[in-house]
């Protein structure tokens, strides 16, 4: 029986759940707003816009909660790559996904209480949460209240430029979500990481979380 470690404190799990719901709802409602003729999951265009606006604001609040929590608790350290990670850790982890995983090699960087992400996770989470998410949210807020930021929006080329930035980032996040869900299946068993993000506990001998 593997020893359990408490990997995800309750606040992180609540944050992750809200974040996940927001991302999924925003991707679907955003897709309906962009392709109103093809997607009708939220009914009318107006409903999709309202849902997108409210969940967008919820995501902004959720992101700020994540940022403040991680800075205050210093758990942001989990997201910061160290010397071991760049570039060796990244290469080792990538090799594992490309080759080792098929030979059932052990995960090179299994999660621990002090370091719960592998080098690739750190890099991708840092890029997505530290860079792309703020740009995505800021572009969304500018698009939601363009009259208050009219000068800035004009200076970057108008709403069209803003919309294209928002759209491209949204697609990257959608692709990330697919990869994230898939990589979550690469734990000791397919469902391990899904259980872990609900209960908070993971087997210490286990690894990946995606």
């Amino acid at each position: 029986m593997a020893e359990k470690i408490y990997l995800h404190p309750v606040l992180e799990r609540v944050w992750h759940a809200i974040h996940a719901i927001c991302i999924v709802v925003l991707i679907i409602s955003g897709a309906q707003i962009h392709w109103p003729g093809a997607i009708h999951l939220f009914g009318s265009f107006q409903t999709a816009v309202s849902v997108h606006n409210w969940f967008g604001l919820l995501l902004v609040a959720d992101f700020l909660l994540w940022l403040i929590y991680n800075l205050v608790s210093r758990r942001i350290i989990h997201y910061i790559p160290n010397k071991r990670d760049i570039p060796n850790g990244l290469i080792v982890q990538a090799k594992f996904y490309i080759c080792g995983i098929f030979k059932h090699d052990p995960h090179p960087y299994p999660p621990t209480v002090d370091e719960k992400f592998n080098p690739l996770q750190k890099m991708s989470y840092l890029m997505f949460m530290g860079l792309m998410m703020p740009i995505l949210l800021i572009s969304g807020i500018l698009y939601l209240y363009p009259l208050y930021f009219a000068d800035f929006i004009t200076s970057i080329g108008g709403l069209k430029v803003l919309a294209v930035i928002h759209f491209i980032l949204a697609i990257i996040f959608a692709a990330f979500l697919i990869a994230h869900l898939y990589l979550a299946t690469t734990g000791h068993t397919i469902q391990d990481n899904f259980i872990s993000i609900v209960t908070g506990y993971a087997d210490s001998e286990e690894e990946e979380e995606a």
Partner: protein, 224 residues
Amino acid sequence: MNRTRYYLIVLSMCIVLSCSYSGLALENKCSFCHGSALEEVKQSVHGAVLGDGQRCIICHGSQYEQRHYGKHIEEIETGFEINRCFSCHGSDLYVRHGEIFPQPQLHLNSKGDTSQTSCVTCHVEEKDPHLIKPAKIYALKDCEECHSSDSILLTTPSKSSLKHQIIGTTFTNSELTERGQYVAGANRIPILDNLCVILIILTIIGVFVIHGGVRFITRKRKGE
């Protein structure tokens, strides 16, 4: 005596001239060619409110007062000036429209900035553009009329459709798009859309089908 006669002549000429250029005279002039349009306006929600002589120039700009008959229709601007709506409608514009769509400020600009949607886009019917009805009876409320790939804002103006001329010549969104305006659902960059869809499909195939497939094939079997 001669001086008095001179003043009387000048005065009467002024009266004649001012009368000939008054709204009433202008309206009569308009009705010479646009009689049916004037009749529609009289039957419209504005018909009773706008008095004689007001019915054409209240919406159409000063440029329309200039002689334009004999010109090709493409040469003639509609002359509709959106800011003329706001002289009567404007005090609770955002509140009332906020009940219909979530972001009235994005659609309407009380300063008459035509980078926003024009009133006539939603309040004018295809077949009777001058017969503006009370909003409760007719107003375009389907967002997808504008927010879709076949948006009326992107429709090429058609000679057969006066509404399309109204929208097309003065408020065409292709022109606004060039200036950076963007209508969600209508404006898009097709190649970017295609690339993004391909990225999503490749991601799904890459991880779930290819990587997942190889994992499935190389999985540990019972007894191994």
